[in-house]
Symmetry: D2
Subunit: 393 residues, 4 copies
């Protein structure tokens, strides 16, 4: 385990829960005090403030990087030297270039490179992906992911140099990969339009952004990210398909509601909750609902089975490329192309919309039941293009 901060703790708790057979051997932190505190809290046999020492520890098979963004590449380099498998927290890099270098290193070294995109492992996400693959919602037209909260926990997030940006790099990486999964990983992302602004905080980086990602088949991915949201952590996905709709709420409304006058005293309610009295919306098992256990299960199983995990370094690279385009668009105010020197999916090739025939001469536009019991049918003539309607009572 490289890193001993907030996310490292979440990871450690997931790894050591539910009688899993995988265990943390050592922890590296830049501060030896933090390394010790972490090792004590999770009963680790070893800790260190030397990254190499941790990576090269003889019992370590897999290195888990949960360091600030600007240290990912250095850590991957060390893993490559030590020929240890590596799984890295999100975002992979601060830019596509950085991510590509990490991808190349790992692939050349023949080691495993897992991308810890937990929100693509939440129970709701995985189940909804099954439905999408089965065709329950038809062709996906639009996939939006929203992640908004009152801002991150650690100083380095707020420092553009270390993090690579603001809410877009921190939260947008989740949203982009969620949308991309729904739309299909083989479908090429073409261009991005993004608005970003620093609306509230005294920082250089953006604290609010909205982006649209156009895919080769005409589908739209949308991300809404903010560090200026009030009320807790808003993690919602919405997908529109030709045959259905998916709405997922991962955090603030999950069927657990509590009112308290606050007489029980202060305490932790949930990640980024802002209040601890009145109506609260705790999450039953945060780590599980955020996807950590499923993610680690997939990663370790993939290593054993010598297969790719669901989320790879390559996916991390694609996400960075999309975010690069988003940052550029936020500056140029133009739709910016997603630059992918290494595209492994389908060739871009827009799919045709199939029109539904009503009869030989007409396409069916729609039919609907009216309040008075009539049924209305709206048609378009196949040759003249004229739109007409019929009422069937």
């Amino acid at each position: 385990m490289l890193g001993s901060g907030f996310i490292a703790r979440f990871y450690a708790e997931s790894l050591h829960a539910q009688r899993r057979k995988d265990h943390i051997i050592t922890v590296y932190s830049r501060s030896i005090e933090n390394a010790k505190r972490f090792a004590d809290d999770y009963n680790l046999p070893h800790h260190t403030d030397k990254m190499k020492e941790a990576i090269n520890h003889s019992e370590v098979d897999v290195v888990l990087i949960s360091l600030p963004n600007h240290l990912h590449e250095i850590a991957v380099e060390e893993c490559v030297k030590a020929k240890k498998h590596v799984i890295c927290t999100k975002p992979l890099g601060r830019t596509a270039k950085e991510a590509k270098r990490m991808l190349n290193m790992v692939e050349e070294a023949g080691i495993f490179g897992g991308y810890l995109e937990d929100l693509c492992y939440t129970p709701k996400f995985l189940k909804s992906m099954e439905s999408v693959k089965k065709g329950d919602i038809g062709r996906v037209l639009w996939a939006k992911s929203r992640e908004a909260h009152p801002g991150p926990h650690s100083d380095w997030f707020w420092d553009k140099e270390k993090s690579g940006g603001g809410a877009i790099i921190d939260l947008g990486c989740h949203c982009v990969e969620i949308s991309r999964n729904y739309i299909g990983k083989n479908v090429k992302p073409i261009e991005v339009m993004c608005w970003a602004d620093t609306q509230v905080h005294p920082i250089e980086a953006e604290d609010h952004a909205i982006g649209l990602v156009k895919y080769a088949n005409g589908a739209i991915g949308q991300f809404e990210v903010s560090w200026a949201f009030r009320g807790g952590m808003d993690l919602r996905d919405e997908v529109m398909g030709t045959e259905g709709t998916i709405w997922i709420n991962n955090f603030l409304r999950t069927g657990f509601e509590m009112f308290t006058t606050g007489k029980g005293g202060d305490g932790y309610v949930a990640e980024k909750a802002e209040v601890n009295k009145g109506w609260l919306f705790p999450v039953g098992d945060e780590a599980h609902d955020l996807g950590y256990p499923n993610m680690f299960t997939d990663m370790f199983a993939a290593i054993e089975e010598k297969r790719d995990p669901l989320e790879t370094f390559y996916d991390g690279y694609i996400v960075n490329a999309i975010l690069d385009a988003a940052y550029k668009s936020a500056e140029t105010k133009l739709w910016e192309p997603v630059i992918l020197e290494d595209w492994r999916g389908d060739a871009p090739d827009a799919s045709e919309i199939e029109k539904t025939s009503y009869d030989n001469e007409h396409y069916l536009i729609k039919e609907e039941m009216l309040p008075n019991g009539d049924k209305k049918i709206i048609l378009k003539h196949k040759t003249t293009g004229e739109v007409t309607q019929k009422t069937i009572s």
Copy 2:
């Protein structure tokens, strides 16, 4: 009442409900059969297929236009000639030019011009506006309105010439005015970025669009509109402010849930509901929840009290100007300026973000309670700009 279609019926039912003192005198329809059927259904003393005859009927004080979009201007012209007050369904025009001509005509004639933007009169909207005005959510940063359903009821909607467009003109007019109210009607809309596509239906106009409207104070209005949504009518608003959040669901989730095996037989469930078995989400009182009664109350009271209603022809014109920019942006793929030859609000002038001081030397970026009970404070030095953190346990 000019028009006898779906929306005219909704209007008539609201007007004749709850023992109101205002009544419909006559109805005009282009088809005399429809006029008669409408007059019979609502016990009207008179009906006609001549627009002038209806407008000039001696007992008519106010003319309600619920005609297809391309007939609004002609109808307003006739009202102006007859010096009768006029209230007109949404959108006011197909373009800002058309809307501006209607506005000018009405103002020059000194008659009342009310804009029937019902979704700015829903009970939830009105109550949330009170909260926003009171400052409950602080400065508004973002106001999104979403209206999506499987497509409109009548043929003319699907005909770009008659309607002026597709989902943007039909649904976006609601969304734009809702966002504009939350952000403040005095704040100038500056520019628009819009994506639009025809993803599903065999039509020329767009059946799906997403737009961002930038306001002079940095706030963002967002609209999401679609005729390709599956599952009913999705009417939701979300507002983010510096001190709070508002989430409104006007239709699909309002605290009324019903499961039925369908043994009760077919029937009307709710506007644009797509199924009548399984889990259904009816709306208690559709007309009320869509704002009709409050809207007519305001309109007639405003006429009597010789004041402006909440929504005027001028508002309709602003909405059209924003939608014009949206249509242009969808074509040029650029942020397009909102062209307003007649702006009556505040001069554009971006407001400054107030930074919160932590102490003499630092701004406060954020504070948060962590799961282990620690409190973290993130600070920015006022002169060096360095970001640091403190943990208070």
Copy 3:
């Protein structure tokens, strides 16, 4: 208007809203100051502290009783003497005896006696009743109504002598009539089991109670009432039928959610809301969502059309009889019969359960889809009674 308290104000606002043609002429209050304040607030031409004077005012056609429970009978007596129509707030009496005397007086005098049971007029209730009548949920098996909040507004409620009891008489009257509507007003209520306790407040009357009402056809009505609920006003109904389910939430979760840090200052959020910061759940239009406008529309229309309203003094009497049995049961701890000297519905006669045949020899108990795709069918032999199962893969 007799009375000038909380409920009288709610009534007055509903009556004077939405351009209704019915208006309040005068208000009576035991305190002339309150009468004056009320008359001023609602622009009434007249006010008085003499009940007779108000009732006999020449312009008054209908008397609306919104007085404490112990004054209902006296007020009805005066209306009867004056031969004025009367509509009376809930509960009708403090006991069935009192209610029966009021019913008799009104019927003998030939005047109109409307029972102001607003929660049987909420938009959601009325719409769900249509579904129930249409057969959408089949035969009703169980109808629960829950009303719980942190306690009433006025001193007299808490005084057992004046109110006739505690939470049961105050809130149970709503719940009992809601369940009775769903089950069918013609179905005789047979017996009641009730638990009641004073769990929290320093009062004689119960502040929490749960009751079961058994109807002649085997259906169960359930009421859950409390003055000790924390979190606002909890108004929910649940109905189970052989073909479906209804869930109604009238207040705390209606699709309107707001988070506020409280910087907007204090203020009224919703009836019995307990907090004004954090997550709040305001109601769009409280009066409408609580049924007042629909109730008054029905009452005045019924008077004009010389028909019964949906809720009559007779209904009020039945409710009181059920509550009498509830109070008795809470003391005796036995199922207590509902004593109805005047029953106008169907003769008690339990309906037979229809069994669904699977084939000539078996009844179908149930069928279900299993996770592995198998379909299971559970059968009962018609003569031997043996239960068996089949799996169809």
Copy 4:
């Protein structure tokens, strides 16, 4: 693993998921075909149709009983003989007598007896229990648990002899233990009132029941169970405390909503879901949300740490004793005492209600903000008992 049915499969999936170190060695089923199918599905090295053989298998440390209710005691007997630890699915026995015999056997043999009450291990339940213990909702007044669905999967459930009853024994066992946890396991259950009926199915046992359990401290546990619910599996808990409220929805509304036209084809949606088109409410990770992983983690950790698990055979016995009283009450129509020959909790001793003083002379009954901004305070005189009110504007 004894048993190879629906619940055994759910258990097996939880046990073999997430890289747990505990594995199933063998499976016993009365039918060798089922045993083989099960062993194949879960890659078990051994299977048998001889119970003893399975229990005595040398690698087996813990026996998991997931057999029909009438076989629990026999299986426990065999485990005792083999001195193997035993964990048994719910309900422990068909009656308290049966449960007590099992409890005695296990305690005398000094083996571990874990009670597999999964719903007391759901993530939401565990987290809410923390809040309750911390005092967030004050003193618990009422704890209701509801479990209702369209009926169980296997024939033996519907056979009163084998199962010990109907919906009460099948579902009530969950509800009773949930309520008991919230109220406090040390608080003695005193008496039970229960209504039960066979409203829909052609069976002897009850398919719908409602019960009230009175505890020594005045708190009320409530269970609502049914095999006649339509719409899926309704698993909800509600708790009222003097300082707060808890609402938990474990299944039908958990923040995952999907609409589908059904074009994706048929398939399994969720346990006891009744439809697979229209609006569906899948559960992200059923096993986890139903508590299985947490339950097994606690059981195996408890065995290793030689401590009691959260749910023991003793708890199973108490639940059976409460259900015995419920069955008796359903017949006698009286409040029936809970007969506990072996009570290990606190002596019954009703706690006093603390009254809140307003000033020296008055108790505070309540205070509330009114719509017009006034604040009302309701008081009771400490000696005279008179109830008065004050309005502070």
